[in-house]
């Protein structure tokens, strides 16, 4: 269509999608060059909520940077906590007690379900269906209550400590988690009946927003976006960390590459997270949640350290360079949505505005994590 416009010398116009727009779920601006309702060119404009987290990392002690990690992707904060403590533990050579590792996995997976539930609601809202959002929030509320009881926060968690956890979980949390999983298992068929099998939704997602695996690799897309394009890559399986190798779970992969595939990957991931939590609760060992000796002031050996975790939106990598002082010399965050968004420009060319917004919804963007 764009070629048609050029060949006929038709006029195009620039449409500013954002910084305030209902579909961008935050302060993202996309500069669209439009030919009627077709997109000729799309350019995401970032920087509206840049807060210099990486620079802050150079000016704060290792422990002081901890809360910052929860403010990158506020919907999956615990994964980012995990990534950060993991790299510092690696640098310091701290051993984490097994109980703490299990609790980390349980809480991170609960957080992943909460994040996917919110995405599910917001995505269907993008497609014009209001009601599933409220249902999803209802379920998510239970997770937030559970996490609040152990972490003290409902959104910006700061739960992990170098070497372990801030707080042990109690029996109420265990029974509460089991009850929640039972509840969500019953709710999933409702979601599938209301949304997944809806003919309007299927026509809007099937074969629309194709992201070939090659394009995903080119832009470094990870997480459900990559797995919806037929590439079987999950940090939890490919570079196992924590106690994931001891737990039995599958990595959902769909090779259709369309928006529906990404939708299905996330829906299946919720099921898998429930499996992980159940197994982890069964295997939960007794013991301490912090190692006996953790130095009060951390001064890692000078060196270059990298560690990655599977966050709800993809691979969250963190690289720190230590010069042996109590602060990082350089701290680099590799956030998944930044890469996932960067393919939007190429992928949305020639698409209809409505379809492009469905594609954008299926990328599951969290803007503060793109603009760090």
């Amino acid at each position: 269509m764009s070629d048609l416009a050029r060949s006929q010398n038709q006029e195009t116009f620039v449409l500013n999608l954002g910084p305030q727009h209902p579909a961008t779920h935050g302060v993202l601006r996309v500069k669209l060059t439009m030919d009627g309702e077709y997109i000729v060119e799309a350019e995401p404009v970032l920087g509206y909520i840049h807060r210099m987290h990486e620079k802050m990392g150079e000016n704060r002690t290792w422990a002081q940077f901890m809360p910052n990690t929860a403010r990158l992707d506020y919907l999956g904060a615990l994964s980012y906590n995990h990534g950060y403590v993991k790299v510092v533990e690696q640098a310091m050579g701290i051993e984490v007690p097994e109980r703490a590792e299990y609790i980390r996995v349980i809480t991170v997976e609960l957080n992943r379900i909460a994040s996917h539930l919110l995405w599910f609601g917001a995505f269907v809202l993008d497609l014009g269906g209001f009601t599933p959002l409220l249902y999803a929030f209802d379920d998510r509320e239970h997770i937030l209550d559970l996490l609040e009881s152990v972490t003290g926060a409902r959104l910006t968690f700061c739960y992990f400590r170098f070497g372990g956890l801030y707080n042990d979980i109690d029996d109420d949390f265990v029974t509460g988690s089991r009850a929640f999983i039972k509840r969500l298992r019953k709710r999933m068929p409702d979601y599938h009946n209301l949304v997944t099998k809806n003919i309007i939704l299927i026509t809007r997602l099937k074969d629309i927003g194709i992201l070939p695996g090659e394009m995903c690799r080119k832009y470094g897309a990870t997480g459900p976006v990559l797995r919806g394009s037929g590439v079987d890559y999950d940090v939890r399986k490919n570079e196992p960390y924590s106690v994931y190798p001891e737990l039995d779970f599958d990595v959902p992969v769909y090779s259709e590459c369309d928006s529906m595939a990404r939708y299905m990957v996330r829906m299946d991931e919720m099921e898998q997270s429930m499996r992980i939590i159940e197994q982890a609760l069964d295997k939960l060992p007794a013991g301490p949640i912090m190692p006996e000796k953790v130095p009060k002031i951390l001064k890692p050996e000078p060196g270059d350290y990298y560690s990655a975790v599977e966050a709800p939106r993809g691979t969250f990598g963190i690289r720190v360079v230590s010069d042996g002082t109590n602060k990082a010399y350089r701290l680099k965050l590799r956030s998944p949505t930044f890469s996932n968004l960067s393919l939007f420009g190429e992928a949305s060319q020639g698409m209809l505005l409505a379809d492009a917004l469905a594609l954008m919804g299926s990328l599951d963007l969290v803007i503060p994590e793109i603009d760090r």
């Binding site: 449409l15 269906g129 009601t131 809007r204 505005l353």
Partner: protein, 341 residues
Amino acid sequence: MMFIPEPLRLLAFVVGIIAFIALNAAYLVWLERKVAGHIQRRIGPKEVGPFGLLQPLADGLKLMSKQLLVPKGVDPYLFKVAPLLVLVPAVMSFVTIPFSENLVARNIDIGLLVIFAFASVNVMGLLLGGWGSANKYAVISAARCVSQNVAYEIPMLITVITMIMVTHTMNLNEIVMQQDGSLLNWYIFRLSASPLMPVAFLIFFTCSLAETNRAPFDLGEAESELIAGYHTEYSGMGFGVFFMGEYANIIIGCSLATILFLGGWQCPLGLYPGWWWFLAKVYLLIFCVMWIRWTYPRTTLWGLLNLSWKYLIPISLVNLLLTGAMIKLWPLLKTFLMGAS
């Protein structure tokens, strides 16, 4: 009714119709929010007055007290006239709608034609509003609204032509009179007129959803794409009038469906016909409209046009042919059956 002078009677009806529309627009919003609330497992408005019943008044006061902003760069004339072009035809359409046998402002023989003539003006309002706003989102929305309305007026009118062939009249009163007696005399169940009658009702209902820009066909104001569509730039009562017009159009669509297919003011059992039956049926249909809105996601423009041109128009054309055939064949068949027995 007979002893009231005609001008006075008309004045009373005009005042009554405007009051009816204003009240309905206000309380349908309340109902919509309550319905949405209960579908979404929450309560809906409850703070202002008992059950939130005064909420529409509070909303109305708020809208009326807001400044009417006319943004820089708009066409001031079109911008101001557009909301009226949506509301006024809707009010005019009510003139011929019979609430009961006597409760009708003007019982004229071309009632159906008058309503469709006025209903077509509605899209002018949306187009001019979007165009006059000089806002890119509003212009896209206006273009969508026009193509949507054109596409859906065709199957709707074909269905209406079918009904006129069956009823032999465009007088709405007479159409309702033909359906008196029991439920089975309603045109939706009159399979002897055309075996596809229930399908015709569904086509008509779907088209009236699309004509009034209601979900799942609310492409004109798809807020996740076009922010608020053609009324993005309107504030205060400018927006309020668009809103009233939209609800008035929903009432008209549901009223017509009731009159043509569901027996108007007739009781399902043939007892005590009256305006209460008419209103009950209309509100039931309006409830269905809301139910659909809060259940389905939105279609895309091409999905919407495909539905119209590939499904609704062919089906309604088949229905038209079938009805014509039935009109000729049914009397023959009847005499044949009578002769056989």
